[in-house]
């Protein structure tokens, strides 16, 4: 029985192999841009957030948008499997890592520079394959009743006094981007010793919001999260009910890394470009600032009350395009026994 099973397996895999054709490269180049009045968007950002924005865009442009919502990483995996035959026009991702993976596979068209130039270079791909749309800062959240001496640097959290007091989410993409930045800037040795210290000091969570809840409930004293989770929770239960506060680390500290949500064009046409242009418009940028408390990446937009301006966030100088080396980071995190 098992033998015949193996035979059939071989048959099926042979079939799959022979029927897989590698796609031709996109023959768009400098020809006239294809005009389209409909758009397929793969959105790694949630429907609750994005749908009102889509309706604004549809009204303004007359372009019909079909949106497919799922996790950014799942959509990236989906795009990789679809290859050249993807029905998607634009990929709107929650984080730079998923954009990097799709970019690496060569599935993005270069975005025109009049679009990318609206955003500070440090928040987009260096090769112009994707553009940053909104930013989030890594930050320390702490329970005010439990923490009095704030750490100056994220490296202070490696000290013994933080044993079992700091929460991290090693499987979370934002945490991994931060560790990747640490690896790129400080080197493997320093990163490994920090991770090993975290193995004994840290309480592990799956997601940022779980960390925030645990800090709020006093289960753990402090945690490393993205800044907007705190503002979202404050919006849900009321700012005065929050038992935790946010604190940045010292200037240029890696703990202050600013990462982005961004968009890339899969199929270059008038509708795709109009949508990316819209994401960078005052209207959309203000929308993100108000709805999610994220940082608008185009200059001159107001940010949510109580948030430090992006120009004052003492974030380290890191090329976000270097943060797509998640494999090597994962190796370090795994070697330290954190996932």
């Amino acid at each position: 029985m098992f033998k015949s099973f193996a035979t059939l397996l071989a048959l099926v895999s042979a079939l799959t192999l022979s029927s897989c054709t590698s796609g031709e490269p996109n023959p768009n180049a400098s020809e006239t841009l294809q005009q389209k009045d409909s758009l397929v968007l793969y959105s790694g950002r949630s429907e609750e957030l994005v749908q009102p924005l889509i309706e604004m865009f549809e009204q303004e442009s007359g372009i019909t948008v079909e949106v497919r919502y799922a996790g950014s990483a799942e959509l990236a995996a989906q795009l990789l499997e679809e290859g050249e035959n993807s029905p998607a026009d634009v990929f709107f991702s929650q984080d730079a890592g998923a954009l990097g993976a799709v970019s690496k596979a060569g599935l993005f068209s270069t975005i025109p520079s009049e679009l990318t130039s609206q955003v500070d270079k440090q928040y987009s791909a260096t090769d112009g394959s994707w553009v940053g749309v909104s930013g989030r800062a890594r930050i320390l959240v702490y329970n005010t009743a439990k923490v009095s001496d704030l750490p100056v640097s994220v490296f202070d959290l490696a000290k013994p006094e933080w044993k079992n007091r700091i929460a991290i989410a090693p499987t979370n993409a934002s945490f991994q981007s931060f560790v990747t930045a640490m690896r790129v800037v400080e080197g493997e040795a320093a990163t490994t010793s920090w991770l090993e210290a975290m193995k004994s000091n840290a309480v592990i969570f799956e997601k940022n919001d779980a960390i925030l809840n645990a800090v709020e409930q006093g289960v753990v004293d402090a945690g490393l999260i993205n800044h907007y989770y705190w503002f979202a929770k404050a919006k849900e239960i009321g700012k005065d009910k929050m038992k935790s506060k946010l604190a940045a680390f010292e200037s240029n500290d890696l703990g202050n890394l600013v990462n982005v949500a961004g968009a890339g064009i899969i199929s270059d046409n008038s509708a795709s470009r109009a949508f990316v242009d819209f994401l960078l418009s005052n209207k959309a940028q203000t929308f993100f600032a108000e709805q999610t408390a994220e940082y608008p990446l185009v200059a001159g937009i107001d940010i949510v009350e109580g948030l430090t301006p992006l120009t004052d966030v003492r974030n380290p100088k890191v090329d976000l395009s270097d943060l797509d080396t998640l494999d090597e980071t994962l190796e370090l995190i795994r070697a330290a026994g954190l996932i």
């Binding site: 029985m1 799942e74 993976a101 499987t171």
Partner: protein, 504 residues
């Protein structure tokens, strides 16, 4: 011996080929980077994952078997009291998606994580599979042999082990197989409770490093583990005993002093498995300012129900064909079809979904992102659930009845429709209900393969928790549980039907 009708064979072979698609895809991915795959497999971490996964599967399966069997025996054979109520309580965890159960546990006890809570949640979430299968078997078997054994001087315990157990063994092992493979493929609860298994590692490989080769390497190990589990089940299943429905009045076994203990135990399990999740869901709904809009909820409800019904019908047709084939016309080919259908049941849904994305987008663009392809994915994922539930009732229809029908002029295979299906119909409906229930709770494949714009309750629930608004997630979760409760209760009624027909 008669030959299986061509239709049965055709349906069975289509299902087997469908089941082999994900496995074929995995080998294709491995072929694209075999060196890296081998490297991935020969790491100390793989051994650790193997250990964790085995530990969880064995412990959850044994626990669910013990819980489910005791619940079934207590509620059908003893003077426990409130048997019908306890049966409902034992069934209800089936309506709660394991990720909702895990989430409600962490919301109630924030500091829990690792092996023990994972073991607890999965054992409670899966014990209804065993409970329902064993209840149905117990209700249908003749209790008179137990009474004979008692009069011959065997103790209650000896009767349980030597007389009762052999009668329900095929049902118990078949449902344990479902439990074991469910545990192997579980991701949501494991991720929330942070216990590393192969499935979690596979998801991480896809989602964190976009490393499809590493994911495929780990998934192939998972398929091999599945084959080992299936081999064990085949070995210990025992023979199906075809039985005539019991018609005489039952004598209930007196529990004596153990009765309060049994009642307390069952109540405790119900509180943990049903009480905590429901309490937590209702609590979220109250705490947050729920803003979920009614038309959205209705749209999601409609999406969930129509997918569940479509998939339930489609999968039932295939499952019936295969069950009839392997029970009534045992052939080598039939056994191979059954094996291949089961072989990928432990694969995480994301693997099956990505295989169909790869195939759909590149070869069948007209099928890609259609309801048809999604139903096809459900067929691959959940055919074994239906098969596991339907095989026993079909096998229990006495062959002699078919012979009688034939002698009365029903020609050849038509006795299947005239005799076998009508008698086994309740069991077949139970299988369909189970599949519909499973489809209701499914998330990863639905998310990746659904037609753009199709909404289900599970998708809405996911999308609300992504935005961190638990208050918004709660109504969807509650509705999902309530909706899931319907087929779950139907299943329970079905399992106990003969009991109420006979009377107390």
């Amino acid at each position: 011996m008669r030959k299986p009708p061509a239709l049965l064979k055709a349906l069975g072979i289509v299902a087997a080929l469908a089941a082999l698609i994900p496995v074929g895809y995995l080998f294709f991915r491995l072929g694209a980077g075999s060196e890296k795959a081998i490297e991935e497999l020969f790491r100390s971490r793989t051994i650790e994952l193997l250990f964790n996964t085995t530990l969880l599967v064995v412990s959850v399966t044994l626990t669910a078997l013990v819980i489910g069997f005791l619940q079934a025996w207590l509620t059908t054979r003893t003077n426990l009291g409130f048997g019908a109520l306890f049966a409902v309580l034992a069934t209800l965890p089936l309506a709660i998606p394991s990720y909702v159960m895990a989430f409600s546990f962490t919301a109630t006890f924030p500091s829990i994580s690792g092996f023990w809570p994972s073991w607890l949640v999965l054992s409670l979430a899966t014990s209804p599979y065993v409970f329902l299968a064993v209840s149905a078997a117990l209700v249908r078997t003749d209790a008179s042999s137990e009474e004979v054994a008692r009069t011959l001087g065997l103790t209650k315990w000896q009767v349980l082990v030597r007389v009762t157990w052999p009668q329900v063994r095929p049902a118990a092992t078949a449902s344990s197989l479902l439990v074991a493979l469910y545990t192997l493929s579980e991701f949501g609860a494991i991720a929330i409770l942070r216990f590393d298994t192969f499935t979690r590692a596979i998801y991480n490989a896809y989602r964190l490093s976009f490393d499809r080769t590493a994911a495929a390497a780990l998934a192939v190990v998972l398929v091999l583990l599945t084959l080992v589990v299936i081999w064990f089940e085949r070995r210990y299943r025992g023979d199906y005993l075809s039985i005539s429905p019991a018609s005489q009045k039952r004598v209930r076994i007196s529990l004596g002093k153990a009765r309060p203990l049994a009642v307390t135990g069952l109540l405790f399990i119900a509180v943990v498995a049903v009480g905590i999740p429901l309490y937590s869901l209702v609590n979220w709904s109250i705490i947050g300012s729920s803003t979920a809009d009614l038309s959205q909820i209705l749209e999601a409800l409609l999406g969930s129900v129509s997918l569940a019904v479509l998939a339930g019908v489609a999968i039932t047709v295939f499952a019936l064909a295969i069950a009839l084939w392997i029970v009534r016309y045992p052939t080598k080919l039939g056994r191979f079809v059954e094996l291949s259908v089961w072989a990928n049941h432990a694969l995480p849904a994301i693997v099956v979904a990505l295989a169909l994305i790869f195939l759909g987008a590149n070869l069948f663009p007209w099928l890609y992102q259609t309801t048809a392809l999604l139903i096809f994915a459900f067929l691959i994922l959940f055919l074994p659930n239906a098969l596991g539930t339907m095989t026993t009732p079909i096998a229990q229809v006495p062959k002699s009845l078919e012979d009688v029908a034939n002698s009365l002029g029903v020609k050849g295979n038509r006795s299947i429709f005239k005799v076998v299906l009508p008698i086994a119909a309740p069991g077949i409906l139970a299988g369909a209900a189970l599949v519909a229930l499973t489809v209701l709770k499914e998330l990863p494949a639905t998310l990746l393969l659904r037609p753009t714009g199709t909404e289900t309750l599970a998708v809405r629930l996911w999308s609300a928790t992504e935005e961190l608004a638990f208050s918004q997630a709660a109504p969807y979760a509650l509705l999902l549980v309530v909706l899931g409760g319907l087929p779950a209760l139907a299943l329970n009624r079905q399992a106990r039907k003969a009991l109420s027909e006979v009377g107390k």
